[in-house]
């Protein structure tokens, strides 16, 4: 099980708790996790990555295992601790605005 932590507004939108768990086939990558997340919560399509380009929205970041994965290739394997469910993938909104 992959664990994903969502920011508060997306939890509300998805009617989900702080952490969601997803079944993701190996290899576990950013792309495969986000695909599974959007499959389970279709209301999140377009909110984390652009509908068309699939680019990460600029004010969102991906963290895991104390690393910033925001700029990693989306098809690179995520850390083993994320793939095993020991650590969550964190989707974080940049602290900006009011």
């Amino acid at each position: 099980m992959i664990r994903v932590l969502l920011p508060p507004h997306l939890r509300t939108l998805a009617h989900a708790g702080t952490e969601v768990t997803l079944e993701v086939a190996s290899p576990v990558t950013l792309r495969s996790v986000l695909d599974a997340l959007e499959e389970r919560y279709p209301m999140l399509r377009g909110t984390i990555r652009d509908h068309v380009t699939q680019e990460r929205r600029p004010f969102l970041r991906f963290f895991a295992c104390e690393q910033d994965l925001s700029h990693e290739p989306v098809d690179s394997p995520l850390p083993e601790a994320v793939a095993s469910g020991a650590e969550p993938l964190v989707v974080l909104g940049a602290i900006a605005g009011g």
Partner: protein, 393 residues
């Protein structure tokens, strides 16, 4: 007994204010979508319980919300909460606004003028205005930034651009105003379903007479000294346009500067600023039963976006322009420095026409006597972006 339902979009959520026909005691519901920018909420004239809302965020982008019960519950069209995802076409498409570049109907995605005069690609940012069809609750138009017009015919689930507007040919001369290059006004002609008026800041006003396939700029008579050719066909910063449905050929416009009027469906415009203290502003609206009675809220200038002299005054003309009277009873007349944005005024259709507007300071004011006197419905909402009203019988 008649009721009114006021739909308020703010910087941090939407609010629904309801009252009976006396419009004295109000129930306040909200915030709906707390923390999100709610640019516009509007009800369907064909089904008052059908509401559409534009929900957006700099972080998470654009969402469309729909209510089928007058705002009690909401869902993203196509993805009701709690529904098990079924096999079949993908859902969650209601927030997908993609410029049409199809061979059949689309135009090449051209560029528009950026702030510095260079050309810049069209990039979708948000929905400014939602205009439900006059006859079909499932049909709704969306005016978006960067400027384009979209339509949904399935209750907001899927959107398709009416690309004849963006591909009109003048697109490379359109440019963003301070708020972005937004299509903010959509007016459907009740006497002619093929005719739609729209306005873009800063391109100007356009009209289609064939249901959106082709468009004509309708800016003759506008004078904008801030563009190289002040009388250019396009490039004018139109802030809002209003029409009384009983006279669809007569339009009133609040331009960046200048209040204007057209008596020929936009073919030409005349200035009607008259004795206004300043003719900069954003909102303009028309009395429901008196098509020559017009309302504006003058703002000091484009450098100082607040009301002049610390006084919040609605100005009313009963002569279709030029002669304006200040309406002040119940409105703050000292130390007031709020703005009233372009979609933040509305009129109801009760016998005694009610007028409503919201401010950047979070107040929503109502007048149950056509503007003679005003009362705040609420005083402390987040900054108000839009106000609409439904008259319910």
């Amino acid at each position: 007994m008649s009721k009114v339902r006021v739909l308020v979009g703010t910087r941090k959520g939407a609010f629904i204010l309801t009252a009976d026909g006396k419009r004295e005691k109000w129930d306040v519901s909200g915030p709906h979508f707390a923390g999100w920018e709610m640019y516009h909420v509007k009800g369907s004239p064909a089904d008052p319980n059908r509401l559409y809302a534009s929900q957006s965020s700099g972080w998470f982008g654009q969402l469309i919300q729909r209510s089928d019960d007058g705002g009690k519950t909401w869902h993203q069209p196509g993805t009701p909460p709690g529904e098990t995802v079924a096999p079949g076409p993908p859902k969650g498409m209601s927030n997908k606004f993609v410029y049409d570049v199809s061979a059949e109907t689309g135009k090449p995605l051209t560029t528009h003028q950026f702030y510095d005069g260079t050309q810049h690609p069209w990039e979708f940012k948000r929905v400014w205005h939602l205009e439900p069809s006059l006859t079909d609750p499932d049909t709704v138009f969306a005016g978006v930034e960067d400027a384009a017009l979209f339509r949904s015919t399935d209750g907001g689930e899927n959107w398709k651009e009416l690309s004849g507007l963006r591909g009109h040919g003048t697109g490379p001369m359109w440019q963003p105003g301070a708020g972005g290059m937004c299509l903010h006004t959509i007016i459907l002609d009740p006497s002619n379903p093929e005719r739609i008026f729209i306005a873009i800041s800063a391109a100007g006003a356009f009209r289609t007479d064939d249901g959106g396939k082709s468009w004509t700029p309708i800016n003759r008579g506008l004078y904008s000294k801030y563009i190289p050719n002040p009388t250019a066909e396009v490039g004018h910063c139109v802030h809002h346009v209003a029409m009384n449905p009983s006279r669809p050929g007569v339009l009133f416009m609040q331009k960046h500067w200048d209040v204007m009027r057209s008596d020929n469906a936009g073919d030409s415009w005349q200035k009607i600023s008259g004795n206004l203290p300043t003719d900069f502003g954003f909102v303009i609206d028309v009395h429901t039963h008196e098509p020559e009675t017009v309302y504006v809220v003058p703002i000091k200038s484009d450098a100082e976006h607040f009301v002049p002299d610390g006084k919040l005054r609605v100005f009313r003309s009963r002569t279709g322009g030029n002669e304006w009277e200040p309406l002040t009873k119940g409105l703050p007349q000292s130390n007031c420095y709020v703005n009233v944005l372009r979609d933040a005024m509305a009129v109801d259709s009760l016998d005694e026409c009610g007028i409503y507007f919201g401010t950047s300071g979070g107040q929503v004011y109502a007048s149950a006597d056509a503007g003679d006197s005003w009362n705040p419905i609420v005083r402390d909402l987040p900054a108000v972006l839009s106000v609409e009203v439904q008259t319910l019988t």
